[in-house]
């Protein structure tokens, strides 16, 4: 069973309390962007076997959105962090680097 700690209210919530929100740190594209950019934003998804970053919502709790770093192979959780960022915290990145040497993910988008 997947348990994530909500970074806002501090509750260690198990899955039924949470709603999965898909890939984290997507750079949004709207009117005026190219077909490729729009396509990638809407449909292309990171689908790694290993380290992954996701959006979650503490739906049956405080109701807030947050981010989680997780391993899709083992369901190990590396940490959760605020929704108001486009990159994970250094602490989480260090933790992942220690546990999964050589890990990769796509470039973190610069959300502006």
């Amino acid at each position: 069973m997947l348990i994530l700690e909500c970074p806002y209210c501090g509750v260690k919530a198990e899955e039924t309390e949470l709603a999965a929100g898909g890939e984290a740190h997507l750079k949004r594209f709207g009117p005026g962007s190219s077909d490729d950019e729009f396509h990638d934003y809407l449909f292309m998804r990171e689908n790694p076997k290993g380290v992954h970053f996701e959006r979650w919502r503490h739906a049956n709790g405080c109701g807030k959105w947050f981010h989680a770093a997780r391993c899709t192979m083992t369901l190990e959780v590396f940490g959760t962090y605020t929704a108001q960022t486009s990159v994970p915290t250094q602490e989480i990145i260090d933790k992942i680097a220690a546990k999964r040497p050589g890990w990769t993910w796509r470039e973190f988008a610069d959300e502006k």
Partner: protein, 414 residues
């Protein structure tokens, strides 16, 4: 290959069953093949089979990292139907269903195809409208389905409770020629036929890299060494994104866990497949007497081949209202598989940005029923570069906005 027949059984009975051969060879890989199929599940083996049977291409290797048919082919709920709303889906699933009808004879292998009928229950007003629409569409597509009344549902499925407090049964979409088949036997039958045509099925051999030169594929690296090939077919379901990344392109896809379970065996009580999409549950009874129950997918990316516990409860809870007798059943086994889900819940059977590299994935939660049709179409695509069945299922359809939107049409259990 010695053919299986009643005479073979009698002959072997007289000599203590010492004369049976292995159903397929397990050779070491050669250095070069015309075609390498990655993934020896149903879809991969079917593709190889039709490459040989329809196009005479037999210098083929089928590479499998685990064991043959050990992925989603051995983890599904074995339902076969073709009552899809969209034309391209109906075409390929109906092709598959029709191939299932003669598969045992074609392969000389009993796949236990049982056209026992499939009912999809309508339990909300929206579903009534949706299924009536599907029934009309199916009529145009030449797929034999009909809308049936609650009374008729009760006639076909006596154990059903029509007037549940939350989700009464308001009717159903009935496909009389749908049904089930033995999932392992489908993989084994294709494997035996492929091996007989001289193809090499190489198990416990993981692909670690896809080699390309000037934008075209030249071979794969595996745990049993490099293998050169002219064409690659990637048919690996949940691991499609991992493999495509090796080849250098991305897929509009996410891998999630889907679960199923079986109950203890009981006396025959339901000779039809019933799907209840509103409440996320579907059920049939196996020949052994177990109730085979499938549920919904988890909401998050997962490669662990096991699903979340709460989905088991949700699934069974949903069924208890419609089938009160289920509440007395003990569940024997539960398992999960990793399904590859695209944005429009339809598969991708397509050429890729890498030349001579073909991909067949995205079957999501509905792969088993399509195995022969998918193999048929994929073989045609790989051999000739074009197949009428796959035209709409390209990798580029998302960019063009040409979705084959079955997520709306089929609900969840798909």
């Amino acid at each position: 290959m010695k053919r299986y027949s009643v005479f073979a059984v009698a002959r072997e009975a007289l000599r203590y069953h010492t004369g049976w051969e292995r159903a397929w060879r397990s050779p070491e890989p050669k250095r070069h093949y015309d075609v390498v199929i990655v993934g020896a599940g149903g879809h991969g083996l079917a593709t190889a089979y039709y490459l040989g049977k329809n196009f005479g291409i037999t210098n083929v290797a089928i590479i499998e990292k685990g064991w043959l048919g050990g992925g989603n082919t051995g983890r599904n709920t074995t339902i076969i139907r073709s009552n899809y709303l969209q034309d391209p889906s109906a075409a390929i699933y109906e092709k598959a269903r029709s191939l299932y009808e003669t598969m045992s004879q074609d392969l000389n292998y009993n796949v236990m195809f049982s056209p026992r009928g499939v009912i999809m229950l309508a339990q909300t007003e929206h579903e009534i409208r949706g299924y009536k629409r599907t029934a009309h569409a199916n009529q145009q597509q030449g797929v034999q389905t009909e809308w049936i009344s609650p009374e008729r549902v009760k006639e076909i499925v006596p154990i059903i409770n029509l007037d549940g407090p939350r989700y009464p049964v308001l009717g159903g979409l009935y496909q009389e020629r749908g049904g089930t088949a033995r999932h392992d036997a489908v993989a084994w039958g294709y494997a035996r036929a492929c091996s007989d045509m001289g193809m090499d099925i190489i198990q416990k051999c993981e692909v670690t890299g896809v080699r390309t030169e000037n934008g075209r594929t030249v071979g794969v690296d595996t745990t049993k060494g490099p293998i050169d090939c002219d064409k690659i077919g990637m048919i690996v379901a949940g691991n499609a994104s991992v493999l495509s990344e090796m080849a250098g392109f991305r897929l509009p896809m996410e891998s999630v866990a889907l679960q199923a379970m079986v109950s203890e065996p009981i006396k025959p009580c339901m000779d039809v497949v019933v799907m209840a999409n509103t409440v996320h549950g579907y059920m049939s009874q196996s020949d052994k007497g177990e109730m085979v129950i499938g549920g919904g997918t988890d909401g998050f990316n997962n490669y662990t081949q096991r699903g979340s516990f709460h989905h088991i409860e949700e699934t069974v809870r949903a069924l208890v209202e419609t089938f009160p007798m289920v509440s007395r059943l003990k569940m024997l086994r539960q398992w999960g598989g990793i399904v590859d889900v695209t944005g429009d819940r339809s598969p991708i059977i397509s050429k890729t940005p890498v030349q001579n590299c073909f991909i067949n994935c995205g079957w999501g939660t509905g792969g088993f029923k399509s195995i022969p049709g998918s193999g048929w179409a994929m073989a045609e695509l790989m051999a000739t570069g074009h197949s009428p069945l796959t035209e709409e299922f390209t990798i580029n359809r998302f960019k063009e906005g040409k979705f084959i939107d079955e997520s709306v049409a089929a609900g969840v259990a798909h």
